[in-house]
Amino acid sequence: MSVTAQAAAPRRLARSRFTFDRLEVLGPLFIIPAILYVVVLVGLPFLLALYYSVSAYSIFNPSYTFVGLKNFREVMDSEIFRRTLANTLIFTISAQIIGLLLGKIGAMLLMQEFPGRRLARALIVLPWAVPVSLATLAWLWMFDSLYSVINWTLVAAGLIDAANRPQWLGQEDLAMIAVATVHAWRLFPFGVVIFLAGFTSVPQDVLDAATIDGAGFWRRNYQIVLPMIAPIIMIAVIFGTVFTFTDLSVVYLLTKGGPINSTQVLGSLAFQVGILSGDVAHGAAICLFLFPFLLVAVILLLRSLRRREI
């Protein structure tokens, strides 16, 4: 009996060694944590949000009674929501455009040789690395109605009159520009990194050949470099769009959606209704309006990416 047990132990060990040596076992084993992460922290909350949005659930009355699309209809009845939806699109698109433009310009500058380039490359990622709350509070002071350093500079330079200084967070159009700019400022280091990676991947001989053929800066830029790095830019756009569309921190910290809801975005409104006011069902319904927009945007971008790769 004991002889059999002694013989079985090395056999089990050998079998387990064999099992761990097989790629078809080891591969899934390594990927399981990532899948679990997505399922538990993204998939389940998403399903829960779907369920909440068609229920009557609130903190006051935690009931899972099914109400169909009633919450969505009620949300759409509100002018605040309709304005919020439009704001979210404006905020996302403008922050993307500004962020990518700044990213491209930054990357082009950082491609040049100059003393301290390494330090500049390290410093450029600061907006990305600084906690959003701290960075936004710094911007809040820069946009302050009384002590704005931006206004002070403009007044000192004689560009504006102190009595008619712009109210960055008080005028509807300026407030949207302000929140989009702050978000673009947060995004632009990512743009710089992506563009830098793209630029370095363009073979120098292609550029040299184009230069010899008489292509100037703009032609090289728009007809050679940008088409070649388009797939990388697409990835940046997808990431940036999702990141901006779902963001509420910049708006919440700077304006809380004001003035007159001119900077309210879906994320901040959903937080206001679902968490602060305890109406989880309507908050979830507001949040889910993000999903179809993001889905369509991501599908279009990925399709375009695949076409380019082919």
């Binding site: 903190i59 968490i275 006011s277 305890g278």
Partner: protein, 450 residues
Amino acid sequence: MRSEREISRSSVTRRGFLKRVGATAGTVALAPAVSLPFVSTALAQAKTLKILQWSHFVPQYDKWFDGFAAEWGKKNGITVTVDHIPHLELPARAAAEVSAGAGHDIFAFSGSGGPHLYEKHVVDLSSLVSEVEKKHGKVHQVGRQIGYNDDTKVWSALPAYYISFPGLYRKDLWDEVGMKPDSWEDIRVGGAKLKAKGTPIGISLGHSVDPNLSYRSMLWSYGASECDQTGKRVTLNSKETLEVVKLVRAIYKDAMEPEVLSWDDASNNRLLASGRGSWIHNPISAYRTIQKANPELADKIHVWKTPAGPVRRLACGSPNSYGVWRFARSKDTAIEFLRYWTDNWVAIFEASTGYNHPLFENLVPKPMPILSNDPTSHPADKLQVLETADEWHATYGYPGPAGPASDEVADNFVIVDMMAKAATDKATPEEAVAWAQKETELIYRKWSAA
């Protein structure tokens, strides 16, 4: 040179790595289970009380409260933990604690809707409130509005205190124009004169708490309100509301600067502290801050009641209350602590430098300490008018109770935006009122069905 055998023995193999990771993960996973019996025994033996409340605008009060709670705990063999977080984070924290079914024992709600919103998650404190009423006199209407549900007859929180909302004004500047800011009409007329002299008045029109309180005060003073006494029917669309919206429009254009559209809760304090402001509607915290930073300017700032309207003088105070979670581990201890806290109100009042106003009639007898004689103020009776604050304060939902609906109207800044739309000519006063009525109705209808 090492042999190949030595190299393979010393290097980390995939199998070895997996084994070590597995063993470590197993140990980490098993550790809580192994230690659980010992930990739970220790917890059962130690009595604890956990309290969460906002970081008070008067830091001295937090310091006093922490010491007060610790001392009570020491006397009774209870370990008391007091956590303070910014008031704007309290709603999200309450939601998180309820979702997790764990957290603190006592939760201090700051604002109006909390106790009603969380009624099904907190202990009924009716017997405690009744006991406190017997001992310390009738509960103030603000306390009843925030803590009592007339439908279920439940006190879901112990009314703690409210923060008064008087007017803080530059006496020297108002004397120059021969006026005192006693009514909203005075604010319009005097404010226009003072703005012309470069010292405007300031009420925020941005998304922040202060304007929610100021514009409600204004509506009530003119006989308008967001809802009726039942708290279920929206009554915003009225000629009284329209009158107030027109008044705000005039005040914005004649007596304020456009900067008020971007203001947060500290901006009006900064206006007064800059020496450029002539009147703000704010708790005395703004004055207290200026006292420390600029005593000379503080001497010029005086405190007066909230402005009166043609119907009444009424301000929207900022209420605070204590709830005890149903999932709390130390419910009885929590109630015992709240009873003790209520019995020490004079000390509470002094520690808050007259900032916390009591919500039971006789908690702080008159003449009230600090308010009747504040040695740091010149003259010393500058704050005496606040002794009458009980007569001119109500809170969200007035004339009905505060609740989830009135809270959501405030959270969504509907009243503030109604005023801002008309003030900035984005809508006519009539359109602004109609818009606010519709948005408010949507919210009230939703909550009445909940």
